[in-house]
Amino acid sequence: MTAGDATLLRLTDVVKTFPGVRALDGVSLEVRAGEVHCLLGQNGAGKSTLIKVLSGVYKRDAGEIEWLGEKVNFASPQAAMKAGIATIYQELDLVEEMTVAENILLGHEPRRAGFVQRGQMRRAARGVLARLGHPEIPVSRVVNRLPAAAKQIVSMGRALSREARVLIMDEPSAVLAHDEVANLFRMIRELTASGIAVIYISHRLEEIREIGDRVTVLKDGRAAATNLPARTTPNRQLVSLMTGRTIEYVFPERPATRPAQREPLLTVQGLGRTGEFADVSLTVHSGEIVGIAGLVGSGRSELLETIYGARRPDAGAVEIGGRRLRAGSVGAAVRSGIGMAPEERKSQALLLGEPVYRNITLATFARYAHAGLTRMDRERAAAAAVAADLELRPRDVRRVVSTLSGGNQQKVVVGRWLLGRTRLLLLDEPTRGVDVGARAELYQLIRRLADDGVGVLLVSSEVPEVLGLADRVLVMREGRVIHEAPAKDLDEHGVLDLIMAGSLTADEVVVP
């Protein structure tokens, strides 16, 4: 009973706002039975929000969702699943300690008089796996003993057992090896042949070409284009639809002198960590801002944390100021003048219940102390100086840090390294969740630090930010540095091409 090109799902002007952000700003989109509909967009374009609205995690603020021709309003993920929309998230939501069969039939186990009928459950699970072409997965095996690819199949099996008609897959290939991706595509084709629609999210253009039917490009919470043919739309058009953000940031000017002439401050040689990144070599000079562009999962954050000693490398070495840094020791890194503002401000950087000044002096309070006794007056004075320097608002350093806005919290995290003798600053997504005004101030601050001779290594998902702020840019893809160039020789298109496709499209190659 293939429904041909019947429309299963139609979104009209869907809006979802969060305090301060319009995450979805009127998205319209339709999904037909049996198609693979690809969603494309940069980080922050609204893909995740859209998925969550579709799967009932968020409630939309405005707009309409039609499901099988009827207006619906999914109150919960359960409701969406019951209607036939299943979502396979990147971090698979399987119960690791339960068996394959239990996971596939989780929540609708065959039962009689309150007792789960285990035999029947195993038979049903076997049937589902056979339909996916994987009868070899043992249904009684505990899920945490399966490889990632098999877990994904179990996750798809669950959707199938629920008789889902739309399957949303959020970057399913990110956890898979090359030949496993081919197998994934084979399964997707079988599902679509039986009339199921797949909403496929990926950053890899070549995958979209291979498996996709139609493409919708999201930008700034809107569909920049929808229903593009996946196979024939040129890369150049897709990339240009994704780029050109509406908000223009003001970046500080680069200094005229080339810091690259100086002695290297940080030298990384052949650094690698299995499964995260491999053979990374880079240098940062004092006074230089080096940006790393790459997707989430490209190994960039892991690289930063490894340089900082928060992770232990499997290969390679880090030198700072000509001296080799002890691997795997944050203490050694901090003592040699390295500071890091980590990716997750709240979970990795701040003591949220403590006053601002204690957060600013978290790495340095021992230096103000005398014989083990802290000198809070001196700490407060030093923190107040930093707060004034960063134009922290409110200025009072005795306030509890959780009462500050995101931008001001980030200033506290960066400000921590203005005290002490920081020579090299590692910044991981320094402007995530920071409003526009505070962003400009942070950019000024970072540039001023560099002008004072600090070396900066910056990671950001926002390509314009890397290009606008950095002197030199490294592009990372799947754990490797694939390109390096001065920022002024690159543009957003070129970098996005490199990030997503691994090479510059022919007409985009920039002649140096």
């Binding site: 980590p342 990795q348 219940g353 790495a363 021992a366 009072d396 959780s402």
Partner: protein, 345 residues
């Protein structure tokens, strides 16, 4: 020219640097909580004054009764100070009661007694501190969950104490030790003064030293502490050592009170210490707690016990009341935290 109506953004009242009154400031939260505990204490005294005015309102007896309460509180109070550090650091120490038993037995063996009072104090403190450090090593470097590691120590230390003492109560004949409980300085029992000294040292340690700052940091956000260059494991180890040290001090105090050491000493004291720290406002999730709060928690419990004793009420009922107070205090804390979150826009 058309006049466009632009909705001027409502002039936001400058969040500015106008500081809120002290009673609204987040930084005074612990102080306000402690005032609440003092309120509870006043209430308990009022109950005492109503039910036994002959004791609570008699100037002579009242003073003596207060010193009795504080003496009662002193031993568990010392444990509570150590426990406060452990909980603020994000852990829990279930072994302290057992360590009191073990240290009391170890320091009252005939062999140890032959070294005199100095040898006994040394033995009690070293044994308990070492056991605390073992907890610390298991948790910080063996990556055991604190609950499991200290539960194992609870069982093992109790067993070791029973083994050493052959399950007999060991009478202490070193008079200097026995005299500790009898000694008064300026009318105040030495046990109370020891407790006061531990409280004072604990307060300075927590609020005025890098040790205290690191303790709060590793409990409040271990990842942030680690990424700021703090040696989280080493600090964890030290904190459990400190808790063991407190158990050693408490063991000496107990031996002086009972003139003996026994493997059953200090049973369930870990629970009293945890309860006192918690009603004193120490957050089980770590990163938050005060020494003064824990002191008040201990005194509140001791006062409840006293009220039951002076009114000749059965001990079982007292435990029911204590349980109720623990739940009430934690509910109150959750309510406050919830209020704090909701207050944000």
């Amino acid at each position: 020219m058309t006049r466009s109506e632009v909705a001027a953004p409502a002039a936001t009242p400058a969040p500015a640097d106008r500081r809120p009154g002290w009673w609204q400031r987040e930084s005074t939260e612990p102080v306000r909580r402690n005032l609440g505990l003092i309120g509870v204490l006043v209430l308990l005294v009022a109950v005492g004054a109503y039910t036994r005015p002959d004791i609570y309102l008699n100037s002579d007896l009242a003073m003596r009764n207060i010193l009795t309460i504080l003496t009662q509180a002193s031993t568990i109070g010392v444990l509570t100070i150590g426990m406060t550090f452990v909980i603020i650091a994000g852990g829990i120490d279930l072994s302290v009661g057992s360590l009191v038993g073990l240290a009391s037995v170890w320091c009252t063996t005939l062999a140890t007694q032959s070294y005199g009072w100095g040898g006994m104090i040394f033995a009690a403190i070293v044994v308990a501190t070492m056991a605390g450090l073992v907890n610390g090593v298991l948790i910080a470097y063996g990556r055991l969950v604190p609950f499991i590691a200290t539960l194992a120590m609870l069982v093992a230390a109790r067993g070791l104490a029973a083994r050493i003492s052959a399950k007999r109560t060991q009478v202490n004949s070193v008079t200097e030790i026995n005299n500790i409980a009898e000694t008064r300085i300026l009318g105040i029992p030495l046990l109370v003064l020891i407790f006061a000294a531990v409280v004072a040292v604990g307060w300075v340690l927590l609020n005025r030293t890098t040790f205290g700052r690191r303790t709060v940091a590793i409990g409040g956000n271990p990842e942030a502490a680690r990424l700021a260059g703090i040696n989280v494991r080493w600090q964890t180890l030290l904190v459990y050592g400190l808790s063991g040290l407190c158990a050693g001090i408490a063991a000496i105090m107990l031996v002086s009170q009972t003139n003996s050491g026994a493997s059953t000493n200090g049973e369930f004291w870990e629970l009293d210490a945890i309860a006192a720290a918690i009603i004193g406002g120490t957050a089980l999730s770590g990163g938050r707690g005060t020494i003064i709060g824990s002191l008040l928690g201990v005194v509140v419990f001791a006062t409840i016990t006293n009220l039951f004793i002076v009114n000749n009420l059965p001990i079982e009922v007292q435990n029911i009341v204590k349980g109720g107070i623990i739940v009430g205090a934690v509910l109150l804390q959750q309510f406050r935290v919830g209020g704090l979150i909701r207050r944000k826009p």
